[in-house]
Structure formats: C-alpha cells, structure tokens
Symmetry: C3
Subunit: 145 residues, 3 copies
C-alpha cells in the first residue's frame, strides 16, 4: 500500500481534483473507492507507486476542492497497523495539515480501541493548500502489488 | 448474498459508521459500493457472512449518521427476486425501521413493474437507532461466494 | 468502452435513476464507479454494450434527478483520446445537452493540456430531460470487453 498526497489549482473543481491526483502520482489510473481496511500482511510505503496507465486501482481517499480564494483546505489519512499488519485507514479534513492529521489519528485510535487491538504503528499523510482561484487537495492510500 | 444490518454510537460520524459496520459483521473488510442488481441464480441469506479480513467485497449499502441527540435514524434495504433469481436491491432511509422498509419495498415493486418481471419474493432488512451523542446505522447486501 | 445515455420519469428519485439506467441499456448490471481514465488501446463505441445481467461493470457516470416539475436537467460526458488511445473522461451537468457537453469538453481540453498530450479525438454523449413529476438523466462510459 502506498500513501500519497497532492494539491493543485485548476480551471474547474473537477480539473483541480484531476490535477491534485496528477500531483500525487495517481492521476492516470482508475481509482475504485473502497472502505478502509488494510489486509493483514500488507506493506505500507510512503512513496509513489509505479502504476500502469488506466489500471483499476482500489483506493481510500479524502479530497476537497474550493472556489473561495484565500480559503485554506486540508485533507489527511491516518493508517493504524496492528501487530499482524491488519490496519484501519481513517480520512479527515480541516484547514491545516496538522488539524486534519490529528483528527484522522484520533479516529484510528478509536477504531483500534473498539476492536480490542494493539495499535502497533500509526502512519499519516496530509496536505494543505490556500486556494488562489479554484484549488483541490487529495490524500490517498492506494492498494497495489 | 448476505443481508446484514447494524447500529452503534461513536466519537465521530466516521467512527459511528465504522462501529455500525462492525455491529453488522462487515467492519473488517473493504466494501466496494456497487449498484443494485442481484445476478440470476444468487442465493440470498439473512445471516452474517464469514469474510476474510481485508477482502474486497462488492456491496450495496444504505447508511446514515447523526450528531443530533434524540434523533431517530433508520435505513433499510429491500431485495426483490424474480423467478430465475435475478433481483433488484433498493435502499432507503427514514425515522423508523418500518417506514424505511416500506419505502424500499415500494421502490422494488416499481423496479419490477417497469421491467415486466414477476416479483416472486421480497426480502428486507432494516435497522433503527435513537441517537445518544453521535450514532450510525447501516444496512447492507454483501456479494460473496 | 461504450458511451450511453438515458432519461426517464419514476415514482421516486431512485426509481427515476433506475429507469434512466434501463433506458441507457445498463439497468440490469452492477455498476462500480471508477475515476476517469481510458486505458491505452481501448476502443470507444457509441453503442449499447451487450452485458450479462448482474455483471460487475466498471463505469464513469454522471447522473441527476429532480422532483421539480418543469425543471430542465442535463448531464454529459466527454472522452478525450490521445494518439495511443489513452484517454480522459470528464462529466458535467447543466440545463441543456449542449451546455453540459461544452463544459465536459472544456474540462477534457484542460486535462490534456496539463498532461502535455495531443488531443487526437473528442467524443461526447449528453442527455437532457424536462421533469414532469420526478425525472432522472444519466450519461455513462462503460468499461467492458
């Protein structure tokens, strides 16, 4: 699994989202949105995956776009991992990277508490952007082998 | 196919949804949301599936969360089956299980009428919850063999 | 890949959407929503695919429903293709087919510009409907071999 993030401006909100995906290195594949579980034994990397163009790629992502100049937009993912590599991904948004990341980490902590699992490690990725005219941010956890 | 439902409180709406999925027995897999057709020959069971943790599971689901204490939230799915096992799933929401289920059943009836199919059987699943602080409900139809 | 569109009335918004999918020839399959990339070498056809009932079908779609009698609703997809068959799909909505299609085409043009790709061909599909009581429109790009 790969954790990536990107931010960009665009002519429309959909283009800003597309451009943020390109900035994150996942703009030329087909993302299939899935819910938020990491299979046991998965390896999590903080790098860009090398994906064939057009591939169908399962993915958890948080995205936000805005056409309000000056607005601060941020999204984050936190990935909690148990001892056997099973994990839970939580997504959140906010005005700053730090705010969004803290929310996501707290959600991961509750998800582990209710499952009775030991939270062996927490990874996070976050991105923030101050909108010029039309901006977008995306943080994603991509499942690829 | 498996029809399941769950309800729960959580610290945030996303945690309440996660906890409701756990209560429904589908909290530790990756749900891929699909539209609402049951393949001919599928078997529908009102029980919890035995799913490997982290599996990618196609699923129709209805979910609702609320942070309004005292609010009643309900969701339902109805599954209509034709003579050959082909089916249509409709999702709905409301304040009570019964209200949500009736809406879903009426939508299934129209879906069969427009297709000119005989509605051989209707199954339903529904769940309601009165919110304490932050609650969630989910009803799902899970595709698994 | 197949570009299709449909419009319909229904008793509820979900039924209107279901009926619009039937009108487009994709009402009896399970659509999995994906993001918007056409794999290199794909062939794009402006015809209805012949899909097995209940199949899991990756799909980009734009849909809109309305319960406001007299309202005009339209959606469109534009598909831009590069020299090697790689493509980008953009979806949009509006009041008329032409308005929605123009928006989608402009988004495709920006998507090619930021990628530094030559826009060899643009295909479009659009549909509009004036709501009687409860109407829906859908335009879809279906991935099927």
């Amino acid at each position: 699994m790969y954790l990536v993030a990107g931010k960009a401006e665009g002519k429309t909100p959909l283009n800003a989202f597309d451009n943020a995906l390109l900035a994150a290195g996942i703009g030329d594949v087909n993302l299939i949105k899935v819910s938020s579980i990491v299979p046991p034994g998965a390896e999590v990397r903080m790098e860009r995956p090398n994906l064939p163009r057009g591939a169908l790629v399962p993915c958890v992502y948080a995205e936000r776009t805005s056409e309000v100049p000056g607005e601060r937009i941020a999204v984050a993912l936190a990935v909690g991992l148990a001892d056997d590599g099973f994990g839970v991904v939580m997504e959140s948004e906010g005005e700053t990277e730090e705010e969004a990341a803290q929310k996501a980490i707290q959600m991961v902590e509750e998800a582990f508490r209710v499952r009775g699992l030991n939270l062996q490690q927490v990874l996070r990725i976050a991105v923030e952007h101050q909108v010029v005219a039309c901006g977008g941010v995306v943080a994603a956890c991509v499942y690829w082998r």
